[in-house]
Structures are given as structure tokens and as C-alpha cells.
């Protein structure tokens, strides 16, 4: 099992793009390259139009291990304006899943 993971409470993701630019700054990625991508989902529930967002970790995500080693949060987690991202041990994060709705858990094998 991947040791570290990222839990995202995507119901609160506002699509603000902070995680994306934080990642690009942290890794000095040029345009087009990113450890995280946020996509928009628009749909009709019959009662209302919902606009939801879903952040997705790409292969370029290294979970900011150098930052983590320094005791910092990953750049995206720290700057997320909704504070809806959580980094931690996969097993700890997985334990909390049952109590939550609308969350995703990404596991990444740090390189």
C-alpha cells in the first residue's frame, strides 16, 4: 500500500486554481506541466444546476516529499483556499473515509 495519500473533500473544492499554480511554482513547472489538474463538472439534478470541481493528481505529483521532509505541507494542500485537501499516511486517511461523504483519496507512491 502506498504510504502517503491525499484526501480531498471535493464537495468544497471551488475550482480556485490555487493548488495548480502552487504546484507549478513549487516545482517550477512550465505551462502545460502540473502535478494536479482541476476539472469542472456541470450537471442538472432536476432541481438545480450543480457546478462541481474535481482535482486530479497526475504522474507529475511527487506529493511534495522534499517539503514534507522539512515538516511542511505539500504546496497545494497549504494554499488550497477552501482548505479541503489533507495529506497524510494512507492508512490514517483511509480510516476516516467511512464518516465522510464526497471525498476522494488519492494514493501516490512517492518516487
Amino acid at each position: 500500500m502506498a504510504k502517503y495519500g491525499m484526501l480531498i473533500d471535493y464537495d468544497f473544492c471551488t475550482g480556485c486554481h490555487s493548488c495548480e499554480v502552487a504546484c507549478q511554482q513549487e516545482h517550477n513547472y512550465p505551462v502545460g506541466k502540473n502535478g494536479i489538474r482541476v476539472t469542472e463538472h456541470e450537471y442538472d439534478t432536476g432541481e438545480k444546476i450543480k457546478i462541481d470541481f474535481m482535482p486530479f493528481l497526475t504522474d507529475l505529483c511527487d506529493l511534495c516529499m522534499p517539503r514534507v521532509a522539512e515538516g511542511e505541507k505539500p504546496a497545494c494542500v497549504k494554499h488550497c483556499q477552501s482548505a479541503c485537501m489533507e495529506f497524510g499516511l494512507t492508512k490514517d486517511l483511509a480510516k476516516t473515509l467511512g464518516d465522510k461523504s464526497k471525498v476522494v483519496l488519492y494514493t501516490v507512491q512517492p518516487g
Binding site: C16, S18, V21, A22, I51, H79, Q81, A83
Partner: protein, 748 residues
């Protein structure tokens, strides 16, 4: 590689572009900022940051950044500029401005600002030192950006008010004094898109996480409206009727806070009578929102123990924006939500520090009797509008541009433009602004990049700074903060440094007690008992202590009035829902509704020709007004100026997603890329303002493509409200959609 040092500071444009005030940590290596991160110890943002500030290194060290004063050498508009020294630049400005002053008087130069940066202090300092009363948000019809709401709050309740998201308390959500609002009406804004006016947009999201329910007042569907308890999709520009309809329900059903109203509200009977003219059925007809939905939302708000209203610029932009704001203030007032935890708290500048003096005595002391006389006698718009005369020192923007064109009642010959890309940004009837401003004899622009305004108009461009490059301070609500310079880029100077130097030349006596801007800052900071240096030692920011600048229930504790008595800072000591200040200014003392000047109802013929209501002026998370289109990390995420079109509308006009089309009305046509989406209703479209293409040719006639993309070419004017503040049809202009080929055929 050198050592990297980390310094805290506080953001206030330029670069991020906003009126927030978040804490940021600057990572500096060999004198260069290599990275920026939110300051997790700062209570404003707690480490969180927007994409714009996170892209700041790309902005500061951008190859297009202007880093030396540039004097025009070719024809105006040729784009030919040559670098000159600061000394020469100041000499040149002094000479040219003095020429105009000697020939026509100091009022013949206008001092134009946009928004962003700590601009109010330095630009008024320079304008007044020069002797001109004409300090103006040029282009912004009706001064419709917060000023109308601020004026209304001052008039009705004697003080400003904001949603209480614990921002005045150091421990924020953990402070035991704070309580979670049961409900927040989010009226005409999508808060996650930015940090307007000293308010971190995501605070609303923080409250939602803690249980706050949302009532959305928004014609569009957004992330937030999809999560709202009630979403009232009103027709753009009908907010005034909506407020009255809700008041009607609350008063009609006796849901107001009677104890509070008896004690603290003036004019309940008159308000009741006025609201009675707006039964929900009538309001439903005007707004397009079903009567029952309006009534339920009104009950939900009134029945909550604590609630607030967070509002946006569409309110200012309603016809009679100051009256619409009045109606909305009545909503939070009669429900007893003022200055309670989780309610609508009174907002005062932290520690009673202000960026610039405004009492008459202070103005006389600084700038002399003559200036104060000029402010009343020569300020454009002060004669025409009593509210303009009596609330703040602005000149009236719609009238200023008309006067530049006509030269009546006196000629305007020069402009000092700072933090304002007038032509690429806020100017309604943008082409008219272009023609009028072209006539000026002298134009200086202070900015960080070339843009359509510098290219078309500037005789000289003076390079300003981003916030990591400047010393400054802010006291806008809380906390009191200093902005501390950590790096230097090229020869750039801060707005304060530039204006201070010139102000000294024009007003040596008034300004002689200050040797540097820092001396001035320290004088302004004095009410806090701290100097800039003290503030730095204290970590850069201070929350207000118990007193007039800290909630709660200050009206009960005698903290709001000069005389120290309990009550509000109004004539009656009460919240004046019947507003005597408005009465003094020859305005209706009660809220009323005005139909937008162009609409299916007021101009049915025009509506047949142009059947779509165009909403502009919304915020993108990635841009700030007309700024930041050249920043790679931002532009890649929103590369094109799109227009939101409902699927049914797209079908009707036979356009596909991603198709380039024109938006068009009698004033012109503008290019947009279609985004088919149910964010908008079939009767409305939405598109962002501020588009020009920094990657295109800047010289005339192209001007970075501004005439292809500047949406405010379609927005007519002058359209200020009866009070002089508010109005401007940025949200309610009628247009149609035209395919590219169709236009070509018509032209051929």
C-alpha cells in the same frame, strides 16, 4: 546559489491584484524573490493563497515589465518610448504640469485611479498638493464600485458594515466570542473568485463548512448557488425590487426584531408604508423569481438568530445603486443583526488609522485653504450631486469625461493616471473615453506594464512596484498591517515614492515636515500608538483591541458616536431606515426601485433588436480586471475571452461551443468565444471585462487588440444614478450574438 531568506509581508496589489490583505512569506535569494507562500500565522488567510499571488514571480520578473521611466519619443500611440532617469522624469512631469496649472489652473489636470494597490493615499496626496480637486475613478460610470454601498451605509447607519466571519478576532473561528452565522445572503457575488474589499472570499466557504446556510441572490448558477438553501435567480438589475419585496414579507408577517427596531431604528412606519407598495407578486413579476421563493427566503433570513449579507458590485451598478443598497441595509437592520457575533458587524479602520486625512482641518493644514475651497467649488460633480459633494472627495467620473470632451465649464488639459488601464478596463463607452483623452495636452501614466492606456495616451510612463518591492501600510478593517519592502526590481519606485517626490515639488510648505514617505506613514500610524518599526517588531500586523474598531454591540456601549453616548453615528442616533441624510441630499429617504435603462420592460423595441441581457464585470480567479493576461501560469488556465451562452440560446443562434462570434449592439461589436453552459439563463449571457492581448502589437491602431476585445465598448453612458453614485449598465446592456461570416456578408 545564495542563502534563501524568508520574510513576512502583507499583500495589497500590484501583482496579485486585489483588495485583500493576506499575509505572505517572501523567499529571497541574492536580492531576488524566488518564491512566495502564504503566511500560515496570519489570521487573514491562514496560509491560503490565490493563484494570482502564487504566480507573482512570473509577474515581477516578466520580460515585459517596465523597469525604467519611459518618455514618449514618437507620435502619441506610436509605441516609441525611450528610457530616462528618474530626475529627468520628475523634471519633465513638473514642467508640463506646471505649464497647464499656470495657464488653466490646477483643476485642469485630473488624477485618475483605477482600483488596486494602496492608491488612495498617494494619489490624493499628489492631486491635492498640486491643487486639483479632481481625483476620480475615471471611466467607472457612477463610481460603481463599493462607493455607492459605502455611501449608503454611512448615510443610513452612520458606519460601514460587513459579514462577520470572525475576521476581527485574532483566533478567528476558535474565538469563543464568535458565533457561526445561521445564514448569509450572498448578494451579487461569487466570493470564491477573489478577495474584494478586505474580505477573503473563502471565509464564506469556511462558514458553510461550519454550518452556515446560504441564500444566493444571483442570476447565474455557480459553485455556491448549487449549494445554497435558496437561490433566487433574479433578472439582472432588479435587486432593488427584490430587497423591497423581502422587506414587504418580513414587515407584513411581523418577522422583524421588534425590540431592536423600537430601540434602535428610525422610520419604521415610513419603511412599512413604502414596502407595502412592493407585494411579492409584483416583485415576482419584476425580478422573474416566483413569489413563494422570495417569501421563503425572506422568512428564512428573518427567522435566523444571526445572519448577514455579503454583497457585490452588481448592487452599485443597479440604476439608483445607492437606493438599492439602502434597501438591503434595511434588511439586516430590521432583523437586528447589527454588530452581533455572526451578524453584520460595524467595520472601522483598524486602530482608527486612515491612509489619508479627510477632516477639513487636516486638509487645510496640509494643502492650504485654497484647496479646500476648490474641493467644494471646482470639483467636477460636487455641484450637480449633493451626495457626491458630501460623501468622500471624488469627482464624478461620467461628468469628468464629458467635461474633458466639451471643455465646459472649464477645460481639462492633463491627466495623471495611476493604477488604471482606463481604455482597456473600466471605461463604459470606451471609444468615447479614447477620443476625449486623446485631446489632452499632457498624460502621465504610472503602471508596471504597457497596456492600451499607456500606448494610446502616455507622454511618460513611470514604473511602479509590486507589494514585495514596497513599504506601505493598510488599516482597511483589520488587522492593521505594514507592507515591508524586501526586494528591488530595476529602477521601479513605489506609488508612494513617486507621488511623494512630486508632491514635495508642488507643495513644499505643506509637506515640509516629512523627509520621506516613511515619516508620513508614521504620522498616519500614530493613532495606533505604533511606528512602522514597532509594527515590524510586532510581526507586521495587529488586531484591534477592545474599542471602536472591534466588535461587538458597540452601539450599546457608546463606542460609535463622537459624544460617547450609546447609539449609532447618525443624526438620530438610530439606524435611519428613513434616511435624513438622503433627505438633505434631495434624495428619496426611503428605498425605491428603478427599472434598468435598457431592459425588456423599459426598452421593448431595443430588446427586440438586441434580445440578450449581457452581464459583464464578474471576477475570474485568475485575473484582476484588465491585469495579468500576460502571466503564463494564469493565462494557460483561461486563455480566451469566452462568453457564457445557454444551450437553447446557442441552438437559436446556431453557434457551437468554442466558436468565435461577435457580441453586438448599436455601439459596436466585440469578439468572444462561445462557451455553451447552463451557468446562464437562455435570456442572458455573461462575459468577463478587461480583455486585451498583451502578446499582440501595442502601437496604434492595434493597441494590443483592445478594440477587438474591450467589452465596455458596448456599455453606454453617462448613466449615473440620481445621487451621482451608482448606475452604469455593466450588468444590463442589451446585445445580440452575430456569427463571423454573417457579419462579413453584411459588411460586404
Amino acid at each position: 546559489m545564495g542563502k534563501i531568506d524568508v520574510y513576512p509581508t502583507v499583500a495589497w496589489s500590484a501583482g496579485a491584484g486585489c483588495h485583500g490583505g493576506c499575509g505572505q512569506k517572501l523567499f529571497v535569494e541574492d536580492g531576488k524573490m524566488v518564491k512566495i507562500e502564504g503566511d500560515e500565522n496570519h489570521p487573514f488567510n491562514q496560509g491560503r493563497s490565490c493563484p494570482r499571488v502564487l504566480a507573482l514571480t512570473q509577474y515581477m520578473y516578466h520580460e515585459d515589465r517596465i523597469t525604467q521611466p519611459m518618455k514618449r519619443v514618437g507620435e502619441r500611440g506610436s509605441g516609441k518610448f525611450e528610457p530616462i532617469s528618474w530626475d529627468d522624469a520628475f523634471d519633465y512631469c513638473e514642467t508640463e504640469m506646471s505649464k497647464i496649472k499656470d495657464q488653466y489652473g490646477p483643476e485642469s489636470i485630473v488624477f485618475a485611479q483605477g482600483t488596486g494597490r494602496d492608491i488612495g493615499g498617494p494619489i490624493s496626496f499628489l492631486a491635492y498638493s498640486f491643487g486639483s480637486p479632481n481625483w476620480v475613478q475615471l471611466g467607472l460610470s457612477g463610481q460603481s464600485c463599493y462607493t455607492p454601498r459605502l455611501g449608503a451605509m454611512k448615510a443610513v447607519q452612520g458606519d460601514f458594515g460587513v459579514s462577520d466571519c470572525s475576521q476581527f478576532l485574532e483566533d478567528r473561528y476558535d474565538d469563543p466570542e464568535w458565533e457561526v452565522p445561521e445564514v448569509i445572503i450572498v448578494w451579487g457575488q461569487h466570493p470564491p473568485n477573489g478577495c474584494p474589499d478586505a474580505f477573503f472570499g473563502h471565509w464564506i466557504v469556511d462558514c458553510m463548512k461550519r454550518g452556515t446556510k446560504i441564500i444566493s441572490m444571483d442570476p447565474r448558477n455557480t459553485w455556491m448557488t448549487g449549494r445554497a438553501e435558496h437561490h433566487l435567480k433574479l433578472r439582472p438589475g432588479t435587486d432593488g425590487a427584490m430587497a423591497l419585496g423581502m422587506l414587504n414579507v418580513i414587515l407584513g408577517e411581523g418577522l422583524e426584531d421588534k425590540k431592536f427596531c423600537d430601540k434602535w431604528v428610525h422610520g419604521m412606519d415610513e419603511l412599512r408604508e413604502r414596502a407595502a407598495e412592493y407585494p411579492v407578486e409584483r416583485v415576482a413579476q419584476i425580478t422573474g423569481v416566483p413569489a413563494e421563493e422570495i417569501a421563503e427566503a425572506a422568512r428564512f433570513f428573518a427567522n435566523a438568530k444571526r445572519g448577514s449579507i455579503h454583497w457585490g458590485v452588481p448592487i452599485d451598478m443597479c440604476p439608483d445603486g445607492t437606493s438599492v443598497a439602502h434597501g438591503i441595509i434595511c434588511l439586516w437592520a430590521i432583523t437586528g443583526n447589527i454588530d452581533i457575533p455572526g451578524g453584520q458587524v460595524i467595520a472601522r479602520p483598524s486602530h482608527e488609522v486612515s491612509s489619508y486625512p479627510y477632516s477639513t482641518e487636516a486638509l487645510v493644514d496640509l494643502y492650504g485653504e485654497e484647496l479646500v475651497k476648490t474641493l467644494t467649488e471646482k470639483r467636477i460633480g460636487a455641484d450637480a450631486y449633493k451626495m457626491v459633494k458630501n460623501f468622500r472627495g471624488w469627482a464624478q467620473p461620467d461628468m469628468v469625461i464629458d467635461q474633458i470632451m466639451t471643455g465646459e465649464p472649464y477645460p481639462i488639459k492633463g491627466a495623471w493616471i495611476q493604477t488604471a488601464n482606463v481604455l482597456g478596463g473600466q471605461a463604459a463607452r470606451a471609444n468615447f473615453h479614447y477620443e476625449a483623452l486623446k485631446k489632452l495636452e499632457f498624460v502621465a501614466v504610472v503602471d508596471l506594464f504597457h497596456n492600451p492606456t499607456t500606448m494610446a495616451l502616455a507622454d511618460i510612463v513611470l514604473p511602479s512596484s509590486t507589494f514585495p518591492e514596497k513599504d506601505s501600510f493598510r488599516s482597511w478593517w483589520a488587522p492593521l498591517s505594514i507592507i515591508k519592502k524586501r526586494v528591488q526590481v530595476g529602477d521601479c519606485k513605489t506609488d508612494w515614492e513617486i507621488n511623494f517626490e512630486l508632491a514635495k515639488r508642488f507643495n513644499p510648505e505643506g509637506t515640509q515636515r516629512w523627509g520621506s514617505p516613511m515619516d508620513y506613514f508614521n504620522e498616519r500610524l500614530a493613532p495606533s500608538g505604533k511606528t512602522f518599526e514597532d509594527m515590524e517588531e510586532a510581526g507586521g500586523w495587529l488586531m484591534p483591541e477592545d474599542g471602536p474598531a472591534k466588535p461587538y454591540r458597540r452601539h450599546e456601549r457608546g463606542l460609535l458616536r463622537q459624544d460617547g453616548e450609546p447609539g449609532f453615528n447618525t443624526r438620530s442616533g438610530k439606524i435611519e431606515v428613513y434616511c435624513t441624510a438622503y433627505e438633505d441630499w434631495d434624495l428619496d429617504p426611503l428605498p425605491f426601485y428603478t427599472e434598468p435603462p435598457q431592459s425588456p420592460i423599459s426598452t421593448p423595441e431595443l430588446h427586440k433588436k438586441y434580445p440578450l441581457i449581457m452581464i459583464t464585470g464578474a471576477r475570474s480567479q485568475l485575473y484582476f480586471h484588465s491585469e495579468l493576461r500576460g502571466i503564463p501560469w494564469l493565462r494557460e488556465k483561461e486563455p480566451d475571452p469566452y462568453v457564457e451562452v445557454h444551450p437553447e440560446t446557442a441552438k437559436e443562434y446556431d453557434v457551437y461551443d468554442g466558436e468565435w462570434i461577435y457580441l453586438k449592439n448599436d455601439l459596436g461589436k466585440v469578439k468572444r468565444k462561445v462557451m455553451i453552459t447552463e451557468r446562464v439563463k437562455p435570456t442572458e449571457i455573461q462575459t468577463l471585462h478587461g480583455w486585451w492581448m498583451p502578446e499582440q502589437e501595442g502601437a496604434e491602431p492595434n493597441l494590443f487588440g483592445v478594440w477587438d476585445y474591450q467589452i465596455n465598448q458596448l456599455v453606454p453612458g453617462p448613466q449615473e444614478s440620481q445621487s451621482g453614485f451608482g448606475g452604469g449598465q455593466y450588468k444590463t446592456t442589451l446585445v445580440t450574438l452575430e456569427k463571423f461570416e454573417q457579419g462579413a456578408a453584411a459588411n460586404g
